[in-house]
Symmetry: C2
Subunit: 145 residues, 2 copies
DNA sequence: GTTATTAGTTGACAATGACAACTAATAATT
DNA sequence: AATTATTAGTTGTCATTGTCAACTAATAAC
């Protein structure tokens, strides 16, 4: 192992600690709303890929299918989503947000945006750009694999 | 709000999604051990600041005091930590790792290091350095406040 | 000396999540 | 075509995780 890798591991460790607290801070706020962290993740995922299947949510978010099934049942009851059995494969039930569901997600996004804004509102233009670049760089690197 | 801030918010949103999955991946591994994510965080925190008080763990990790109290009671039962009532203030019970506790934490660190290494093992020296720099830059910026 | 605050514990309970067994539909095998 | 295997999703059961409020004991503040 290279020296630079060892020191990267240390840095990642410390970043994980830092970011866990930060995510905790942001997630508290979800709780201020009606939806838990996982529910929010699922809602966002449904929004970004309409007609998604439950099994895709499981694999993308690394969640148990029984867990997802129950959350989706709840969402359906709350009229956030609708599921229609696919005509070509009756095992599949593509999920879509209702108008109400979309409104809720939009509100959630607005709220989390505000939470994030509170964190970064004091950053000047140069810092904002540099941080965004750094974040993108990190994501790119890890997604390359 | 500046344009660069708006785009930073978008980037942070996407980074949060990305990093939640990544932390999930790393945390799964903790479960392979005997300790949950929160327990691990607490153990690490105790290690890094010996003679720490329960209330400090609560504030640093943003955890409920009853929750922390129970976890610490469990740790004590498992002989991972010892608590001694402070002589100057008998309400306080400074926490320290036992020899066994330290061994366990050291093992945990070793394991998570290996998990992280698996993620970064293909990075060359230059990439490793750039990522570490980017991570440090981000932490610094958010800690400045 | 009385009241307020702080550190930590306990009880009761809700939310979160894991695992296995199940149904119904489709695909693969013979 | 009939049997077997696989897949999408649901349901039962249970353990873990986490929250909230009420409590004790010690100290600080008035």
């Amino acid at each position: 192992m290279q020296n630079s890798q060892e020191s990267l591991i240390t840095t990642i460790r410390s970043f994980n600690r830092f970011y866990t607290v930060m995510l905790g801070f942001l997630n508290q706020k979800y709780l201020g709303t009606k939806y838990s962290v996982t529910e929010t993740r699922i809602l966002f995922e449904i929004r970004s890929s309409d007609k998604v299947l439950a099994k895709d949510l499981c694999s993308k978010l690394k969640l148990d299918k029984s867990y997802v099934s129950r959350i989706l049942a709840k969402f359906e009851k709350q009229k956030l989503i609708i599921r229609k059995t696919a005509s070509n494969d009756k095992r599949q039930n593509p999920i879509a947000l209702t108008k109400f569901g979309l409104e809720q997600v939009t509100q959630l996004i607005e709220r989390t945006n505000q939470d994030i804004y509170r964190l970064i509102c004091n950053f000047d233009e140069e810092s904002s750009k540099k941080i965004a670049d750094a974040l993108c760089f990190i994501m790119d690197k890890f997604k390359e694999e």
